[in-house]
């Protein structure tokens, strides 16, 4: 630990921390643009200038250093005993001296020289570092009278637009593409005040290269201004009109921490949230843009039953009566219950409890495998398992007995007369074996969020909820248990998956009385090995690693 004098505070920071981070840890803002904790520090924006104080031998005193230093590259370390300042400090630095304040004002003035200040039509307004720092640290007027540069707007790739006029050339986006995605699509063209971000254009027989990697969306997040804009979000909403909730991405088994930004009428965007051991600052575009099915008009809103070969909407009482009638008539050996790797641990635990305690069947399966491609980048991996909760669902469903999966599952399904299947994976195709097995079932109950190949075969369809409409936990491939949180309401009459199961259980005379997901998590903590710490309270925003 280094002992630092930070303004008038005396603080301890870990060796190797830079001044920006050290100040942040103690609630002091050192404004910066080019520095990003997940990237290298080129110190080019000059915004984070701070004033170190050093010992000046001729004066025999500690004096302000001649030059200001960039906080992002000034790393704090324990000094050897004979180099301590004032006999105790390892470093003395001021982030609010008059010189520092003046330097910030000057830098901000330069940053705004060519900036269009088109905040009224800029997507970034409200979450813009240029707005915020200008407001907090800048001048109130501009002395610039000359003509402003107007570099062109550019379409960089499938989801990213560049409003070059707003770019402050911090090079975060370039460094991201070099260091994290390793794909280096972005670079600078021209020089000096004509610097522009660009992609490799077709030249000398070389093809145009678009910003088209699976991490590209992150450049929009890290752009401190409204230069890089997501086409998906463009002009959709002002940031301050959206509510935010910490959650976890349901796109694959990595389990990136995210913030869901939503309004009453749906989810507007997903943004990555820092987790040091899972996703750092990033998320992939599959996850980022994969939420659209949640807002889809096709979402299942009412239960449906098959009438004359056709699925027709009905009311819950009717659908559930049909389901309970069939289940109560059936022989336990002929019933197969299948959980979902898209569902939360809570959903799957309740389903398992229902199967064991109410239906008294051991035939529990996991419908899930949603294999995709793995993508490995220098500092990020997108996993091949496209379900968020394969590990958790397996542990919840098993509860001692092995869970049926793959061939064994489909074998059992083809022998069964009643199957209760929870899906929830949008657009998952059915393989021919799976399809044949499901077709052979007498009575197929499907709980799903969208019309799918599975619902097409069902006798009863029960509308469930997606990861943004419920509270619960996912367990990622590395054993991190993390929370998803309810943001928007489920559409129409769709219900929480565990509530549906519990309702059926009750109608069959079972004794399940959970009121909210947190209660189920407590039951899980008590009953499922490894989950002792995984109560919602403990998990919080940063997750709990399985013992």
């Amino acid at each position: 630990m280094a002992f630092i004098k930070l303004n008038e505070l005396e603080v301890e920071v870990e060796d190797g921390t830079n001044v920006v981070e050290a100040a942040r840890q103690h609630g002091i803002e050192v404004p910066h643009y080019c520095y990003h904790p997940g990237l290298s520090s080129p110190a080019n924006c000059r915004m984070c200038l701070v004033e170190p104080h050093v010992f000046f031998p001729p004066a025999g005193a500690i004096v302000p250093d001649r030059q200001l230093a960039t906080g992002c590259t000034t790393v704090l370390r324990t000094a050897p005993p004979d180099r301590k300042l004032d006999g105790k400090y390892d470093f003395i630095v001021y982030t609010d001296s008059p010189r520092v304040k003046k330097a910030r004002e000057d830098i901000l003035e330069f940053l705004l020289v060519h900036h269009p200040l088109d905040c009224p039509v800029c997507d970034q307004a409200g979450e813009c570092d240029l707005q915020d720092f200008s407001y907090r640290h800048g001048h109130d007027k501009s002395r610039y009278l000359e003509v402003k540069n107007v570099p062109p707007k550019k379409d960089l790739g499938p989801d990213v637009l560049l409003y070059s006029t707003r770019c402050i050339v911090c090079t975060r986006c370039i460094r991201f593409c070099q260091e994290v995605s390793g794909s280096s699509e972005l670079g600078l063209i021209h020089r000096g005040s004509h610097d522009e971000i660009d992609i490799p254009r077709a030249h000398d027989g070389m093809p145009l290269q678009l910003l088209d990697n699976k991490l590209a969306g992150n450049v929009v997040d890290i752009c401190p201004v409204g230069a890089l804009i997501s086409k998906d979000f463009l002009f959709k909403s002002r940031p301050w009109f959206m509510k935010k909730e910490s959650s976890v991405c349901a796109g694959c088994s990595v389990g990136c921490n995210i913030t869901v930004e939503y309004k009453e009428d749906g989810v507007y965007r997903l943004k990555p949230r820092f987790h040091g051991e899972i996703n750092q600052h990033w998320m992939c575009d599959d996850g980022r843009l994969g939420y659209h099915y949640v807002n889809s008009d096709d979402r299942l809103q009412l239960p449906m039953t098959r009438v004359e070969e056709e699925l027709r909407p009905t009311h819950w009482a009717d659908a559930l009566t049909q389901v309970t009638e069939k289940l109560s008539e059936a022989d336990a050996a002929e019933v197969v219950v299948i959980g979902s790797a898209q569902g939360t641990n809570e959903d799957n635990y309740v389903l398992q409890q229902f199967a064991h305690e109410v239906l008294k069947t051991e035939q529990l399966g996991l419908f899930g495998a949603l294999p995709g491609e793995e993508h490995v980048f220098p500092q990020f991996t997108i996993e091949a398992d496209k379900n968020p909760n394969t590990a958790g669902a397996r542990q919840m469903l098993s509860n001692g007995a092995p869970v049926l999966e793959g061939e064994a599952l489909w074998q059992k399904v083809s022998e069964a007369s009643i199957v209760y299947l929870v899906n929830g994976a949008p657009g998952r195709p059915l393989e021919s074996v799976e399809k044949a097995a499901l077709e052979s079932v007498d009575f197929l109950i499907v709980q799903d969020v969208l019309p799918s190949e599975v619902t097409a075969l069902a006798d009863v369809v029960l509308p469930g909820t997606t990861f943004v409409e419920k509270d619960g936990t996912f367990t990622n491939s590395k054993g991190w248990v993390q929370r998803v949180r309810k943001t928007v309401d489920a559409p129409g009459e769709a219900r929480l998956d565990w509530e549906i199961v519990q309702q059926i259980a009750k109608q069959l005379g079972g004794e399940m009385g959970y009121h909210f997901a947190g209660e189920i998590a407590i039951a899980i903590a008590e009953n499922v090995p490894g989950y002792a710490d995984a109560t919602h309270q403990n998990i919080g925003d940063s997750g709990v690693k399985l013992a």
């Binding site: 080019n44 200001l68 020289v113």
Partner: protein
């Protein structure tokens, strides 16, 4: 009359000196041979330190001291010869490359021997096609004669030289910009520290040295430190007690251009005055000297009252200017200082590498302000300060004392100082290009303010007489603050 003292340029005009054989006849490579025969590498480094040689590329940093920062235990270590000579007004390296390239090779060999370096990159300004051709030919010859390559002259010494042409960017003359460019990246200076001596080319210790600096080495070794230190003044740095010797030894290749009768490169001992140099170059062309740029376009300008300043590193620094690259540009009474500043600012606005905020956007802004002034659109306003007394109409009232405010001149100075502050010598930029911008801007303005004001008043470029254009010494900030160093006894 001051005499030229030709050392580096002594044999420049000898026909065929660019070939190995002729160079050899004129002591060529003998100094290198002496170095390896008579001295250990550390002896050479000590000689260079004792010689007081200061870098000729611009910063004037002690070469021996720079070498002492290079860690001995990290290998490989590289030498980068800076032949990117692009500072406006500077053209001395070019003649070495074009006419006497073997001298540079000999200097490189001595440096490599002293520092245990096996690989040298010569970064040559892209426009120097002839210079590169001549150097390449000389390198080839030196390889053929066994003065480059493996096991040079049976001593076990290995030295390879590679030449690398620049792509036309001034900033690639800045040592870390040069290194980035050499590595194949955009020529953008690095943050320092670490300095190249510790982490340079390919993140290895690197000695970056100007052509002229390296060409001094054969003479320091050949003729000895004592001989070398007799040239040029050694001042006493009075901040120390007793005053610490501050050598400005050796000769300098002064590139003199502008309004003189015989422009060109003159090799002279360091320490002659600006006025003497103008005389050496055939005197001013025209009536009188209006201003002199003493060290390339980045250096603060000198007025006619400051021509007694000695042209060496210490004297010019203490006179709030710099010797820089030794590019001296003389302006006579016909020159308009606003126009000159515009010319220079156009250059800097074009050449800023664009990496850091103040320079990227401040430099073109400075240019635009000067452009506006030169176009006759500079802003001026008259304000009246209320003061009560007997007014013109004979009544008691406001006598209406007026004051002229030149907003654009204040703006110009403020913007330039915000890039790099000339008074405190602090800059908010990554490299010292920033101060190379604000130095001329602020010094031209402060020292020739009447001409700027006249241009704004008249609404067009207005050239005043030298007398009227120049701020008198008692109002000249640099003249007031300058210190004339004293030579050590």
């Amino acid at each position: 009359m001051v005499q030229e003292k030709r050392i580096l340029y002594e044999h420049l005009d000898v026909p065929g000196i660019n070939t190995f054989d002729v160079f050899r006849q004129h002591d060529g490579y003998a100094r290198f041979e002496k170095a390896i025969a008579e001295y250990q590498p550390d002896d050479i480094a000590k000689m260079v330190m004792d010689s007081g040689l200061k870098g000729r590329g611009g910063a004037g940093f002690s070469t021996g001291l720079k070498w002492s920062f290079v860690p001995k235990d990290i290998k490989p270590c590289y030498l980068c010869c800076n032949a990117d000579e692009s500072e406006p007004g500077t053209f001395s390296n070019r003649y070495v490359l074009e006419k006497n390239p073997h001298l540079l090779i000999e200097g490189i060999l001595i440096c490599c021997y002293a520092m245990g370096i096996e690989t040298t990159y010569v970064y040559i300004r892209g426009e120097f096609t002839l210079g590169k051709k001549m150097l390449d030919a000389a390198i080839k010859e030196a390889y053929a004669k066994g003065y480059l390559g493996k096991n040079i002259r049976g001593t076990g010494l290995n030295v390879d030289i590679y030449t690398h042409p620049g792509a036309g960017a001034y900033i690639c003359g800045e040592e870390t910009g040069l290194i980035e460019s050499l590595e194949g990246k955009r020529g953008q200076p690095r943050n320092k520290p670490p300095f190249p001596a510790v982490e340079g080319v390919f993140r290895k210790p690197t000695v970056v040295q100007n052509v002229e600096t390296l060409c001094n080495l054969p003479f320091i070794v050949g003729e000895g430190v004592e001989w070398y230190t007799q040239m040029g003044p050694t001042y006493g740095d009075t901040r120390f007690d007793p005053p610490k010797p501050d050598p400005n030894t050796g000769t300098k290749l002064y590139c003199i251009s502008g309004d003189v009768n015989k422009p060109g490169v003159y090799e002279l001992e360091l320490g002659l005055t600006c006025a003497e140099l103008v005389e050496v170059a055939g005197g001013v062309r025209g009536q009188e000297v209006k201003a002199v740029i003493p060290g390339g376009s980045s250096a603060p300008i000198l007025t006619r009252y400051e021509l007694d300043t000695r042209l060496d590193f210490t004297s010019l620094t203490l006179a709030k200017s710099m010797l820089g690259s030794g590019g001296i540009i003389v302006m006579n009474e016909t020159r308009n200082i606003v126009d000159c500043l515009l010319n220079i600012m156009k250059f800097y606005a074009h050449e800023s590498c664009g990496q850091c905020t103040p320079c990227r956007w401040g430099t073109p802004w400075v240019r635009d302000i000067v452009q506006r002034i030169a176009d006759g659109n500079g802003r001026k306003s008259t304000i009246t300060r209320p003061r009560f007394g007997i007014a013109e109409n004979g009544r008691w009232g406001d006598t209406g004392e007026t004051e002229e405010i030149y907003e654009d001149l204040d703006l110009l100075e403020s913007v330039a100082n915000n890039i790099a502050n000339v008074d405190t010598m602090t800059w908010n930029t990554i490299c010292v290009f920033g101060i190379a911008v604000s130095w001329p801007a602020v010094s031209y303005l402060r020292k020739f303010r009447p001409e700027f004001e006249a241009t704004i008043r008249e609404g067009q470029l207005t050239t005043l007489s030298v007398e009227a254009a120049t701020v008198p010494p008692e109002e000249n900030y640099a003249y007031q603050q300058r210190i004339v160093p004293r030579e050590l006894e």
